[in-house]
Symmetry: C2
Subunit: 345 residues, 2 copies
């Protein structure tokens, strides 16, 4: 049998012997309909397995579609997974459906995704901006009333709401924590590219903490990596220095995985560690991992709430909202610096 055409309003109407509009009325609880025709219509709908074509409806009604477009770097990253989940939960009450895609931090992929979403007339656009992306092309959309919210990082070329973690203050707190435990040579393992907003902010927090403690900034102690295995190599590199760090600060969750894995592999667990962003099983490690935890759920919730407020007509000026981080002390960050090196008076 051939693939039958999906039934339409007209099919249902013909089945019952009424007009299409009447069926429409029943389904949308629009105008008044007699109980009898109503029943007949519903019966026919069930019989034919009719489902209204949302796209056709939308075209006619005209407004934005009941979807929300979400662009994140990587669906498989637990941090962004948690963010996406929070967004979904928040906008779900409004009946919005999630349209999402991974940019892989590639500006072109990001642009392709946002264009697709705009072509689908999403009600809201939430974007984690890729490095090097320019968002001025969204200006007309914004002035036309489309809520655009940047998440995790600010966007470029467009004035709109941004929701970010307290990256700089959080990193500073984490590094200061290490310093308070006697460390003066503290390595920083950050993600790539170095221009990435979160990377820059966290590294700035790292520098501030050093500065506040009168510790000179040593470029040799800063390493970069793309992924976990890169972070493992970077960690090994830092520990192989002539004057190696006694503590490490992880720039994000993936870097943390690499550092922890490498320290376990090379049995260098005396090296103190504080990581930005929490990871699963942090408490079960030995030592348990001290982290500057981001609140992924709150990040997503605030982004979604802000966007919904805009959708509801909030015309206030663009805001940048900062979601606080929280230092969670578990052990790895409290390991003291060894006294092997002579102290400068």
């Amino acid at each position: 049998m051939a693939a039958n055409r999906r039934p339409t309003l007209a099919d249902v109407a013909r089945e019952v012997g009424v007009s299409a509009k009447t069926v429409s009325r029943v389904l949308n609880e629009d105008g008044p309909v007699s109980a009898r025709t109503r029943e007949q219509v519903l019966a026919a709908v069930a019989k034919l397995g009719f489902q209204p074509n949302l796209m056709a409806r939308n075209i006619r009604v005209g407004g934005p579609d009941t979807t929300i477009g979400l662009v994140i770097p990587d669906l498989a990253n637990p941090f962004f997974g948690a963010v996406a989940r929070a967004i979904e939960d928040t906008v779900g009450d409004r009946g919005l459906t999630l349209l999402m895609g991974s940019s892989a931090d590639d500006p072109e992929r990001e642009r392709a995704l946002t264009d697709k979403f705009l072509a689908r007339r999403v009600s809201i656009l939430i974007v984690v901006p890729s490095v090097g992306a320019d968002h001025s092309h969204l200006k007309s959309q914004r002035t036309a009333g489309l809520p655009v919210v940047f998440l995790d990082r600010p966007g470029v070329g467009l004035v709109t709401d941004s929701i970010v973690s307290s990256n700089r203050a959080g990193a500073q707190e984490g590094v200061a924590h290490l310093i308070a435990h006697g460390h003066r040579r503290i390595g920083f393992v950050g993600d790539l590219p170095p221009k990435l907003y979160t990377r820059r902010e966290r590294q700035a927090g790292y520098r501030s903490a050093l500065l506040a403690a009168d510790i000179p900034y040593d470029r040799a102690l800063v390493a970069n990596a793309h992924d976990q295995s890169g972070a493992e190599a970077a960690t090994a590199g830092l520990l192989g220095l002539a004057d190696p760090p006694t503590a490490l600060f992880a720039g994000n969750n993936i870097m943390a995985l690499g550092i922890v894995a490498e320290l376990a592999r090379s049995k260098r667990k005396e090296v103190a560690v504080v990581a930005f962003d929490d990871v699963a099983l942090a408490e079960a490690l030995e030592p348990a991992l001290t982290v500057v935890a981001q609140d992924a759920e709150e990040l997503g919730r605030v982004a979604a709430t802000t966007a919904l407020a805009r959708l509801d007509g909030d015309r206030g000026r663009a805001r940048t909202l900062t979601v606080p981080t929280r230092l969670i002390v578990r052990g790895s960050g409290e390991q003291p610096a060894p006294r092997t090196r002579p102290r400068t008076t």
Copy 2:
């Protein structure tokens, strides 16, 4: 300024002084267009910021929309995040956009999501079935040509392709591994509800392994939990038994987190552990976590590939494809059983 109406084909046409059809031709590289009008049209498109309305286009063309609907239990679960990412990558080449939602393993939410997706005329539907869900309502869709693929678990009431892990064999291998290291009292911590397909299959594998080794099945050694903290409590409960297990088998990644966390907290690391599904940092734990790894990427890739083949006209009978699991030996599963108890000859 008021939210201006988005420009349409007609607006662009008017701007240039041509017909809508000509603009359409330029944009879709359809019929022949003179270089000059072509330029003019493109200029006008840029000037007005016109973006074709994909929904309107789709309605006219008639076929399914270039979207793929994906229903998973939880976007924030790293396993499903990895699956989703693999699906996205696989269908991305075909230009399909991901429409997704979390069911929270609730049949009603699952139904609501699939209905939304169907109303949007998705090209493909990939569903991780919730416990208790019935999928017979998708029959008409399937016969109408919509590829429907079940992922991770088989669906109920609909004969269609299913992609699952080798749950039973994998669990059996994992438990046999523990038995090979001398364990005879092996606890099983499974997720809820007990009727969940993956749970049942893995527990069946557990029983098979016991049976093969002539070890009696003891219901007291089987515990259940919803989430990580529940798994921690379940683990504590098992270890508090009068005749406690010397080894534990985790029914999924979340249960694994709970077991590992609880063993670390209570300093009972001599208890051997094998977990179904890999977790981050498994290698960095002490002892490193031995797992029966699922191939989330492959699961997603196979599901997407199968669905695309159907979309391309494959009318072969419904298949159930099993993606193999792999035992990864890391340490926790090789810890020997203590000799404290007398051996039965």
